[in-house]
C-alpha cells in the first residue's frame, strides 16, 4: 500500500493560516482551545484522511483533534447565542414591517366592495401614502373650502405622470380636507388595467377603471369620483406640453354629472407633471408591446429605479363647483350643451393652472 504524500509546502501554508485564524478567534473571544500536539494537528489529519480514505489508521488518529475543533466551534456558537439572546427576531421583523408598512398579500381582507376596494389594505397603505403626501411631494392644498357638501361630487383634474400618482394624491387631499365623507374614488385610464401588478393594487386602494358605466354606478351610490378627462393623452403627454390641457374626449363626464345632478369641481394639480418627465413615447414600442412605453430621463435607463417618481413640490387647487340642479334630462343629452360645458370646465382648470404656475418659485423647492 503506497501512501500518497501531499505537497509539503502547500500543507505548511494551510497549517499556518489555520493557526492564525484560530489565534485570532481565541484573542477575540478569550477562549483557549485545548492544547494539541503539533503532529496531530486537526487540519493535517483531516487533509491526510481525505487524501487516503482507505487508510483506517490515519482516520482513527484524526478522531480526537476533530473533537477539539468542535469544542471551539460550539463555544463560538454559545457566545453568539448569548449576545443575541435578548433580541426577538419576530418582534424585530414586525417592527420593521410596521415601520416600512408596504402592504403585502397578508394584509388583504375577506371582503371588498363592488369595485375591489379593500379597507384593510388601504389602512395598511395609508402610512405609506401619508409619507408620499407629506414628505415626498409635500402637497399643499388650496381652496378646499370650495368642495361642496353634496352627496354626489365629480372632481375633474388635469392628469400627468404615466402612473396615477396624482389620482392617489388628490384622493388623499380630498379625504383630509373633508374627513366626513368617504374617500373619493379615482378613475384610472384603460391601459393601467392591462398592466400587470398595478391594477390589482390600485383597485384595492379604491381606483376604478375609467368608463362611463363605472362612473355612473359609483355616483349613483353617492360616492365621490375623481375623473381625468384628458385620459391617456394627458397621462402620456410629452414634457414640453406640461400644464397644457389636452382635448377632453367627448365630454361624457359632463352629461353624467348633469344627468345625475352631481356637483362638478375643477381641480388643478401643480407638480404632478414633473414626476415623470416624458421626453418622447415611441409609437413603434407601443405597437410592438401593446402598451405605451414612455421614455423619461430615468426610465428605462435606470431600470426599475427609473419608475421612482421625482420629488417635485405639489399644490392641489380646487375651483368653484358647477351645479347641474336645474338641468333637465334632455338638456343633459344635448351634445351642444355638453360640448360647451366641457370646454367651460377645461377653461376653468387651465385658468387655475395658469394662476398657480407663476406662484411657485421652483419645481422641487
Amino acid at each position: 500500500m503506497t501512501k500518497r504524500v501531499p505537497d509539503e509546502r502547500a500543507l505548511a501554508e494551510l497549517r499556518a493560516s489555520v493557526r492564525a485564524l484560530r489565534d485570532e478567534l481565541e484573542q477575540r473571544f478569550g477562549v483557549r482551545a485545548p492544547e494539541t500536539p503539533d503532529d496531530d494537528d486537526p487540519i493535517e489529519s483531516l487533509v491526510e484522511a481525505s487524501l487516503d480514505a482507505k487508510d483506517l489508521e490515519e482516520g482513527a488518529s484524526a478522531e480526537p483533534p476533530v473533537e477539539a475543533a468542535r469544542g471551539w466551534l460550539e463555544q463560538l456558537r454559545d457566545e453568539v447565542r448569548v449576545r443575541f439572546e435578548d433580541v426577538d427576531v419576530v418582534k424585530l421583523y414586525e417592527a420593521l414591517r410596521e415601520r416600512i408598512a408596504i402592504p403585502s398579500s397578508g394584509d388583504i381582507s375577506a371582503e371588498v366592495d363592488d369595485f375591489g376596494l379593500d379597507l384593510r389594505y388601504l389602512a395598511r397603505a395609508r402610512r405609506w401614502l401619508d409619507w408620499l403626501y407629506d414628505k415626498w411631494w409635500r402637497v399643499e392644498v388650496v381652496g378646499a373650502d370650495a368642495i361642496p357638501d353634496a352627496p354626489r361630487v365629480l372632481f375633474v383634474a388635469n392628469s400627468a405622470g404615466i402612473l396615477p400618482w396624482d389620482a392617489l394624491m388628490i384622493a388623499h387631499a380630498i379625504e383630509r380636507s373633508v374627513p366626513s365623507h368617504a374617500r373619493p374614488r379615482p378613475l384610472v385610464s384603460d391601459w393601467i388595467a392591462t398592466l400587470p401588478f398595478s391594477q390589482s393594487r390600485l383597485a384595492r386602494l379604491g381606483a376604478v377603471r375609467a368608463c362611463a358605466e363605472n362612473a355612473e354606478r359609483l355616483l349613483a351610490q353617492d360616492q365621490w369620483v375623481i375623473a381625468f378627462p384628458e385620459g391617456q393623452k394627458g397621462a402620456l403627454k410629452p414634457f414640453r406640453d406640461r400644464y397644457r390641457l389636452q382635448r377632453f374626449a367627448r365630454g361624457g363626464f359632463v352629461s353624467l354629472a348633469a344627468r345625475l345632478h352631481a356637483a362638478l369641481v375643477p381641480v388643478a394639480v401643480i407638480g404632478s407633471e414633473e414626476v415623470h418627465p416624458i421626453l418622447f413615447e415611441p409609437r413603434v414600442l407601443r405597437r410592438l408591446l401593446g402598451i405605451p412605453v414612455p421614455i423619461t430621463p430615468t426610465f428605462p435607463l435606470l431600470g426599475p429605479l427609473g419608475v421612482v417618481p421625482l420629488p417635485s413640490r405639489w399644490r392641489i387647487r380646487f375651483g368653484e363647483p358647477l351645479w347641474f340642479d336645474g338641468v333637465s334630462a334632455e338638456r343633459a343629452a344635448d351634445p351642444l350643451y355638453v360640448n360647451r360645458t366641457r370646454e367651460q370646465v377645461r377653461g376653468a382648470i387651465q385658468n387655475l393652472l395658469d394662476e398657480e404656475l407663476p406662484r411657485r418659485r421652483s419645481v422641487f423647492a
Binding site: E111, G116, D118, Q199, E213
Partner: protein, 321 residues
C-alpha cells in the same frame, strides 16, 4: 290542457336536477326527456325519448314528440359541460342542435323556451366596464369555441324571438356556478390545492350557488321572463382572496410563459388554446345581476363568497384538497 315540460340534455346537471325538482314540487306536471340516454335515477319517472340532436332530421322528430306529449314549455340544457376538443361535433350540438330544438318547438306550438347560457359570453376584456349589463355586446373570448358557439346561439335566439312574438324565449347567463355537487371543468381546476394564476393579475370574480341557479331556472319556468338574464350571487372577490379563504396556494406564472407551457395539454383537453380559459383569470367579466333581482324578483340565497366556500368545504369533506 298542455302541461308537459320538455327537457333536452337530461344528463347534464341542470337538466337532471330541474327534472327532479319538478317531479317533487309538481306531481301533475309531465316531464318529457329528450336525450341520447336516460340517467338511471330518473328511470320510470320521466317520459324518455331517445333523440340525437345532431341528426339532420332531429327537428321533425323533436316536433313530433313535443306535439304528441303536449308540452307547453321547453328547457334546453343540452350543452357540453366542458369544452369539447371535438370542435365540429361541439358546434353541431350547441348551435345546430339547439336550432333544431327551437324550430321544432315553434312548429309544435310550445309557448316557452328557456336556454341555459353563460355569463362568459360577455368575454374577459380589459375594456369591460366593472359591471356588464344584459345590453352589453357579447364578445366571448375569441379562442373559446364553446363560448363563441353559445354567443352565436344567443344571437340566433334574439332573431328567433323577434320572429315568434307569441313565444317567451328566455336565456339565462349565470356567473360561474359553484356548489357542493356541481362539477365542471372549472370546478376541477379549482379543486387542486395549488391553483395556477397569472402573475400580476388579480381579477374580481363572482359566483352563483348551484341551488340559486336551479331556483332561477324554476323561476323562469314558472313566470314569463323573455330576454336574457344575468345571474350572480351578491358581492365580488379578488382571485387572491378566494384562494386565501380556501387555504389554497397559488402558482403565479407570467402569462406568456403559462400560455406556452400549457398549450398542448389545453389543446388536448378542451380544443382551445390556454388563453381561452386563463384570460378569465386575467381580465374582469363581472356581470350586473340587478335586473334579475328587480324585475324577476330573483334573490340569490348565497353570496359569491358563500357559494365559493360551500364548494371549497364540500370538496374538503370529500377528501379532495
Amino acid at each position: 290542457m298542455r302541461r308537459g315540460l320538455a327537457i333536452t340534455g337530461l344528463g347534464t346537471f341542470t337538466g337532471a336536477r330541474v327534472a327532479e325538482r319538478m317531479l317533487e314540487s309538481d306531481a301533475a306536471r309531465r316531464i318529457v326527456a329528450l336525450d341520447v340516454r336516460l340517467p338511471r335515477r330518473l328511470d320510470g319517472r320521466v317520459r324518455f325519448h331517445k333523440v340525437d340532436l345532431t341528426e339532420p332530421t332531429a327537428d321533425s322528430l323533436v316536433a313530433e314528440i313535443l306535439e304528441k306529449e303536449g308540452c307547453d314549455a321547453l328547457l334546453h340544457a343540452a350543452f357540453f359541460t366542458d369544452p369539447n376538443p371535438d370542435l365540429e361535433g361541439s358546434h353541431e350540438l350547441e348551435v345546430v342542435g339547439a336550432l333544431h330544438v327551437l324550430n321544432a318547438a315553434a312548429a309544435a306550438g310550445v309557448r316557452k323556451i328557456v336556454v341555459t347560457s353563460s355569463a362568459q359570453v360577455y368575454g374577459p376584456h380589459p375594456d369591460n366596464p366593472g359591471y356588464l349589463t344584459e345590453t352589453h355586446p357579447l364578445r366571448p373570448h375569441r379562442d373559446a369555441h364553446a363560448l363563441r358557439d353559445r354567443a352565436e346561439l344567443e344571437g340566433l335566439l334574439r332573431i328567433f324571438a323577434s320572429r315568434h312574438r307569441d313565444m317567451v324565449v328566455t336565456s339565462l347567463r349565470p356567473a360561474w356556478i359553484m356548489g357542493p355537487t356541481f362539477e365542471s371543468s372549472l370546478t376541477r381546476r379549482f379543486e387542486a390545492s395549488r391553483v395556477v394564476t397569472l402573475l400580476g393579475y388579480d381579477p374580481l370574480l363572482q359566483f352563483l350557488h348551484e341551488d340559486d341557479w336551479l331556483d332561477a331556472v324554476e323561476l323562469v319556468l314558472e313566470r314569463d321572463a323573455p330576454g336574457p338574464w344575468n345571474l350572480a350571487g351578491d358581492g365580488v372577490l379578488p382571485l387572491s382572496t378566494l384562494l386565501r379563504l380556501a387555504g389554497k396556494s397559488s402558482l403565479a406564472l407570467p402569462h406568456p410563459l403559462l400560455y406556452r407551457l400549457t398549450s398542448l395539454e389545453s389543446l388536448a383537453r378542451t380544443g382551445d388554446p390556454p388563453a381561452a380559459f386563463y384570460d378569465h383569470l386575467r381580465f374582469g367579466w363581472v356581470v350586473d345581476a340587478r335586473r334579475a333581482r328587480e324585475e324577476l324578483g330573483f334573490e340569490p340565497l348565497y353570496t359569491s363568497q358563500e357559494a365559493w366556500m360551500s364548494f371549497v368545504v364540500a370538496r374538503k369533506l370529500r377528501g379532495y384538497r
